[in-house]
């Protein structure tokens, strides 16, 4: 099959050979004020001239949050930065997924990130019934049918217009040792179903990250490695404890803890100390990934941590402004 055109700015920048950055926005249990904050974050991303698109999460950790479709649209409209609309297959069957994607296409969304989604058993409405009518690979097939063939999953035609979207999947670099092969083979099935890019879960170990990227490189699909600068010790602790498969290095945890402890009661000094810890860890990390791996970019999951963008990204070319 011929390669799908780059419909989105993200995929265009990747096709043009730029080392790209994407950010992450997390609409939680919010309405108007919360949405203002999300839009503010998105605007700060755009200001960097390095972040080309912003992921909008869909009920992370299985929590009941605002849907990802509407904020994706609002972010594109009000912050004028492209959204990577995250869609988890946890909550919707093939009928609803099809309907949502058509709606998203009508609203001008260009990127979908396909996710299985954390089980509701992990979330804040544990009693809920899961859907998983399609799994994430099958959702990729649905998107392939919608975009390339103009039909729903059963082959019924979309009567007018063509959907112009790109979609990607996630992969977990923390599947190491004997667990790496099944992870890679699973991504292979999604490649078969036409994904345009891969954004990975965050990794903190540089060798693990590089090794995983080099394994994924066999698929010849652009890979954005996930990194997670942490704006507080609390977030780092939560991430370490509750996010599947991710462990924050002890040294980094301790450094963040120390940064907070040493500057208790002095907010500006505390922020500066936390930022310093993150910069010292992630600047060389990103540089090493860029120089010595086959990654095409970085997915920076620093939600609501805009002030770190400048020190983290300033040394890279401001390619993104040509695409906004």
């Amino acid at each position: 099959m011929a390669k799908r055109p780059a419909y989105s700015k993200l995929c265009q920048a990747l096709a043009d050979g730029h080392f790209v950055f994407t950010g992450e926005l997390e609409p939680k249990k919010i309405l108007t004020d919360g949405m203002e904050e999300v839009i503010h974050s998105a605007k700060e991303m755009k200001k960097t001239d390095r972040i080309i698109a912003a992921n909008v999460t869909d009920g992370p950790q299985g929590d009941a949050y605002m849907c990802s479709l509407v904020p994706s649209f609002v972010v594109q409209r009000d912050a004028e930065i492209e959204a990577v609309w995250q869609v988890a297959v946890r909550d919707r069957n093939r009928v609803a997924l099809f309907g949502d994607v058509l709606g998203g296409a009508l609203l001008g969304l260009k990127n979908i990130l396909v996710l299985t989604g954390d089980h509701t058993a992990l979330g804040d409405n544990k009693q809920g019934r899961i859907s998983y009518d399609l799994d994430s690979t099958q959702f990729c097939e649905l998107l392939k049918k919608m975009i390339d063939e103009g039909t729903d999953y059963s082959g019924n035609e979309i009567t007018d217009g063509k959907i112009e979207m790109n979609y990607g999947c996630v992969a977990n670099p923390n599947a190491v040792g004997e667990y790496m092969e099944p992870e890679i083979l699973k991504v292979g099935r999604k490649v078969e179903q036409g994904i345009d890019f891969i954004q990975t879960q965050t990794a903190f170990d540089i060798d693990v990250a590089k090794n995983f990227i080099n394994e994924l490189a066999r698929f010849n699909v652009p890979i954005l490695l996930g990194v997670f600068p942490m704006k507080s010790y609390g977030i780092a602790w939560y991430f370490d404890k509750y996010i599947p498969g991710v462990s924050v290095p002890k040294d980094l945890l301790n450094a963040l803890k120390k940064a907070e402890k040493d500057n208790k009661g002095n907010k500006p000094a505390k922020y500066a100390a936390l930022d310093k810890v993150n910069v010292e860890f992630f600047v060389p990390f990103i540089e090493e990934i860029k120089k010595n791996s086959k990654a095409s970019g970085i997915h920076c999951m620093a939600v609501e941590y805009e002030r770190l963008f400048a020190p983290l990204l300033d040394k890279y070319p401001d390619y993104a402004k040509n695409y906004y």
């Binding site: 954390d118 089980h119 799994d135 092969e181 099935r189």
Partner: protein
């Protein structure tokens, strides 16, 4: 085996509190743990005690049925008793409850159990484990005999998902095995990772749409078809 769990005694009592005389029916069929005459008797005693605390005198009789889901067996066992009783409490799985309500039309049969799943008990393990979800679309031939429908919390056909850590599942606090890692290990052992790699399209849920009615073919001769061919 059909794995059941007894309902809370208060919930059972709420259902039957307006009756004075009830029949409690155990089942000797495939329920696990056993729900036979002894369990029926214990339930009767508990309900009697509960009724006493409410100032009521509840009369009960415990019996057991070979298989409550078999209409003829259930009818011949139950019908001699029903005249005397105002309601039945059944310790069978859901199949038994529905069947007793069908064959004993003039009184209501209430459930004492929650029917959980079709499961097995392995020697030395303290669990009833769900091995099959009777999904109507058996995949075991391509998954090394490990079921991703019953064994995966998300019923994935193309796993593993990102919720597996060191071969354990995010659901249940990383204590239970990830079915897809088990499948991977089985297929790798038999040098059949080709089966692991293949993409499995979405399930056809028509095979699992409720209520299911599968016709029973009672005619195994081919004479009819031959006659039709002659025409």
């Amino acid at each position: 085996m059909i794995i059941t769990e007894q309902k809370d005694i208060n919930e059972i009592y709420e259902m039957i509190k307006d009756y004075n005389k009830i029949l409690i029916a155990g089942c000797d069929g495939c329920c696990q743990p056993p729900r036979s005459i002894n369990e029926a008797k214990v339930l009767g005693q508990l309900l009697e005690l509960k009724a006493k605390t409410e100032g009521k005198d509840l009369k009960w009789r415990a019996i057991t049925v070979l298989r409550q889901c078999d209409d003829r067996i259930a009818a011949t066992t139950i019908r001699p008793f029903v005249e005397e009783y105002e309601a039945i409490v059944s310790l069978a799985c859901g199949l038994g409850i529905v069947m007793l309500n069908k064959i004993v039309e003039n009184i209501i049969t209430y459930p004492a159990q929650n029917s959980m799943y079709g499961g097995v008990q392995n020697a030395g393990e303290n669990y009833f484990i769900q091995y099959c979800e009777t999904c109507g679309d058996c995949l075991l031939g391509e998954t090394g005999g490990v079921c991703p429908i019953a064994g995966c919390a998300k019923h994935l056909k193309n796993g593993p998902c990102g919720g597996t850590v060191d071969g354990k599942c995010e659901v249940g606090g990383y204590t239970r095995p990830c079915a897809w890692i088990e499948i991977y290990k089985r297929l790798k052992k038999f040098n059949r990772l080709d089966l692991f790699k293949i993409y499995r399209p979405a399930r056809d849920y028509r095979s699992a749409t409720s209520p299911a009615y599968i016709p029973i073919n009672k005619d195994y001769t081919n004479i009819k078809e031959e006659k039709e061919e002659k025409k």
